[in-house]
C-alpha cells in the first residue's frame, strides 16, 4: 500500500465509529419512522400490514384529539413568541445600556434554562398546589381571596396557561442571551451618527436596532417555535396531559399511542408533526429573507 492510500485508510478508520453509531441510532430511526407510518403494526406481530396513506388520512380527518394537542402546543408557542420573547427583548435592551451588574443579571436570567424540565415542573407544581402552594397563599395575602384552594393545574380553564407560564419562565433567558449578544454586535457609531442627525431613541430603535436585528429575531423565533411545539418534560411532570386530557401536546400523544402498541399510527403522527415544524421554519426563514431585502 502506498503512503497516500494508507493515510486515507487511517482517516476513514477515525470516522468509522461515528458513522456507524450515527447510522444505526440516528439515521436508521428517521428512515424507519417514515417506513413504519405506512404500516399498521403493534410491534409484536411478525407480519406488518401495509395500509398506505390510511393512517395519515385517519389522523388528518378523523382524529380531533391530535389536532387539539396541536392547538394546545400552538397556544403555548403563541404565548412564548409574544410574551416570552417580548420580555427577553425588553431585558436585553435594558441590559445593553451598559448598566452596572450586567454579568449578575445575565447569570441569573440564564439559570432557569439550565435546570431540568422535570425539576422545574415539579417545583412549580408545588408552587401551584391548590391547598399548600405558595402562589395561592401570596394571592390571598394581597387580597385576592377567591383564589384560596384554587387548583391551577387541575382546572380545565387554567391548566394549560399555567404550564405555559412556567415554560416561558424557563425559556426567556435563552432568548435574552441571544438577543443581547445580537444587540452588542450593532456598531455604536450608527447610534452616534443618528444622534447627531437628531434622531430620538424611538427613531433609533426603529431605524437602527430593528433592521440590524432581523436575522437574530428569526433565529430566536425559530428556536422558540421548535422548543415550544415539542414541549414535553414540563407537561409530563406537571399535568401528564390532564385534567381530562386537556393539556395534551403532540409529543405526549405520540408517546401515548406508542404505549398502546400502535407503532405505525404513532410514527405517522411523528411524520405529520415533523413536516409541519419544518414548514414553519422554512416560512420563517423565507419571510425574514424578504424583509432583509
Amino acid at each position: 500500500m502506498n503512503k497516500a492510500a494508507k493515510e486515507k485508510t487511517i482517516n476513514l478508520l477515525f470516522i468509522l465509529p461515528a458513522v456507524a453509531l450515527f447510522s444505526i441510532f440516528s439515521l436508521y430511526p428517521i428512515i424507519r419512522t417514515v417506513q413504519l407510518s405506512f404500516y399498521k403494526w403493534d410491534g409484536i406481530a411478525t407480519t406488518m400490514q401495509f395500509v398506505g396513506l390510511l393512517q395519515y388520512k385517519d389522523i388528518i380527518f378523523h382524529n380531533p384529539a391530535f389536532w387539539k394537542s396541536m392547538a394546545n402546543a400552538a397556544y403555548v408557542t403563541t404565548l412564548a413568541l409574544t410574551f416570552q420573547n417580548g420580555l427577553a427583548l425588553l431585558l436585553a435592551l435594558l441590559v445593553s445600556r451598559e448598566i452596572r451588574g450586567e454579568n449578575i443579571y445575565r447569570t441569573i436570567f440564564f439559570l432557569p434554562p439550565v435546570l431540568s424540565g422535570i425539576v422545574v415542573g415539579l417545583i412549580w407544581k408545588w408552587i401551584y398546589d391548590g391547598n399548600y402552594g405558595i402562589l395561592n397563599h401570596f394571592l390571598t395575602g394581597v387580597g385576592l381571596s377567591h383564589f384560596t384552594n384554587f387548583a391551577w393545574l387541575a382546572e380545565i380553564k387554567t391548566s394549560l396557561t399555567a404550564v405555559a407560564v412556567v415554560h416561558m419562565w424557563k425559556g426567556f433567558g435563552y432568548g435574552f442571551i441571544i438577543l443581547l449578544a445580537g444587540l452588542q454586535t450593532i456598531p455604536k457609531e450608527l447610534y452616534e451618527a443618528a444622534k447627531v442627525d437628531g434622531a430620538d431613541s424611538w427613531q433609533q430603535f426603529k431605524h437602527i436596532t430593528v433592521p440590524s436585528m432581523i436575522p437574530v429575531f428569526t433565529v430566536v423565533a425559530i428556536l422558540t417555535i421548535l422548543g415550544s411545539m415539542q414541549i414535553f418534560d414540563l407537561l409530563y411532570s406537571m399535568t401528564q396531559g390532564g385534567p381530562a386530557g386537556h393539556t395534551h401536546v403532540p409529543i405526549t400523544r405520540i408517546y401515548q399511542f406508542m404505549g398502546n402498541g400502535e407503532f405505525g399510527y404513532s410514527t405517522a403522527m411523528s411524520v405529520i408533526f415533523g413536516c409541519l415544524l419544518l414548514a414553519v421554519s422554512f416560512i420563517q426563514i423565507e419571510v425574514s429573507r424578504r424583509m432583509n431585502k
Partner: protein, 279 residues
C-alpha cells in the same frame, strides 16, 4: 441640564427595578425548593415561612438512602460520564478524520450529519424503542448510553471539525517525521490544542445528558437503572404528599447542574450566543 440628569437617573432606577424583579422571580422557585427541602411534613402543611424553623438536614439522609435518590444520582453520574466520554472521544476522532481526509463524497455524510441538527425530528423515540428491543438493549444501561452518544455526535463533529481544519499542518508533519503514528498525533497534538472547543462540548453534553428525561422514560423500566430525572417522577408518583423529601430529591438533582453552571457560566453563555448567531 439638571432635568436631563434627573430623567437619566429615573430611567436608571426604573431599569434596575424591572431587572431586579425579574431576577428575583428567577431565583425564588429555586430558593423555595431548597427551603422546603429542610422543613418537616407538618411545617409544610401548616405554615408558609420562607425559611424552615429548624434546618432538618436529616431529610437529605432519608432522601439519599431510603427514597433511593442516592441510587438514582449514581446512575445519572454513570450515564453522564459514559455519555460525555463517548461523545467527546468519538466525535473528536471523526472530526479529525474529516478535517484530514481528502476524498470525494466525504462532505455528503458530513452534511447529512449536520442536517439532523437543523431538522426537527419529533417522535424519533418510537423507532429507537423498536430498534433497542430488536438488539436486546431495551431496559439496559448500554442502550441508553449509546442513544446519548449518538445524539451528541452531530454537534460535536460540527464544533470540532472547523477547529481541526484551522490547526497548522506543519506541526503534525514534523511529528510524523519524528516517528509518531497518526493516532499519536491526534492524541498528543491535535486534541490538547482543541481544549477550548472540547470544554464547550463537555459542558453542554454534561448538562443535556444529566437533564435528559424522554429517552430514559421510553428505554428504562427497571428502577435500579433509572437516572435521577426518572427517579424523581417515580418518587412523586408513589409518595405524592411527601413534599420535603421530594424537594430534597429535586435539590440533589439540581446541585451538580448549579455547580457546573456557576463555574462555567462564561463558557456556557458565550457558547449559546455565538452558536445561535452563527447558525
Amino acid at each position: 441640564m439638571n432635568d436631563a440628569r434627573l430623567k437619566n437617573n429615573l430611567v436608571n432606577i426604573l431599569t434596575h427595578v424591572i431587572l431586579i424583579v425579574i431576577a428575583l422571580s428567577c431565583v425564588f422557585p429555586v430558593f423555595w425548593m431548597f427551603s422546603s427541602s429542610l422543613k418537616t411534613q407538618e411545617e409544610i402543611f401548616t405554615k408558609m415561612n420562607l425559611l424552615p424553623e429548624h434546618w432538618n438536614w436529616a431529610n437529605y439522609a432519608i432522601a439519599w438512602m431510603k427514597a433511593d435518590f442516592g441510587k438514582y444520582f449514581l446512575n445519572s453520574l454513570i450515564y453522564t460520564f459514559a455519555g460525555v466520554f463517548g461523545v467527546v472521544f468519538i466525535s473528536s476522532l471523526a472530526a479529525y478524520g474529516f478535517a484530514r481526509l481528502e476524498m470525494w463524497g466525504k462532505n455528503i455524510f458530513f452534511y447529512l450529519l449536520i442536517s439532523t441538527l437543523l431538522i426537527p425530528i419529533p417522535g424519533v423515540f418510537v423507532p429507537l424503542y423498536l430498534l433497542l428491543k430488536k438488539m436486546g438493549l431495551l431496559d439496559t444501561r448500554t442502550g441508553l448510553i449509546l442513544c446519548y452518544i449518538s445524539g451528541g455526535l452531530a454537534f460535536g463533529i460540527f464544533l470540532l471539525r472547523s477547529f481541526f481544519e484551522d490547526l497548522p499542518k506543519e506541526i503534525e508533519e514534523a511529528a510524523r517525521i519524528d516517528g509518531a503514528s497518526k493516532f499519536g498525533v491526534y492524541w498528543r497534538i491535535a486534541l490538547p490544542l482543541a481544549r477550548p472547543a472540547l470544554a464547550t462540548l463537555v459542558i453542554f453534553n454534561c448538562l443535556s445528558i444529566w437533564n435528559e428525561f424522554l429517552l430514559a422514560l421510553v428505554i428504562l423500566q427497571d428502577t435500579a437503572k433509572m437516572p435521577i430525572q426518572r427517579g424523581l417522577m417515580v418518587f412523586q408518583g408513589t409518595h405524592i404528599t411527601d413534599y420535603p423529601l421530594l424537594m430534597a430529591g429535586l435539590t440533589i438533582a439540581t446541585i451538580p447542574v448549579l455547580i457546573v453552571y456557576l463555574l462555567m457560566q462564561k463558557h456556557i453563555i458565550k457558547g449559546i450566543a455565538s452558536g445561535a448567531l452563527k447558525g
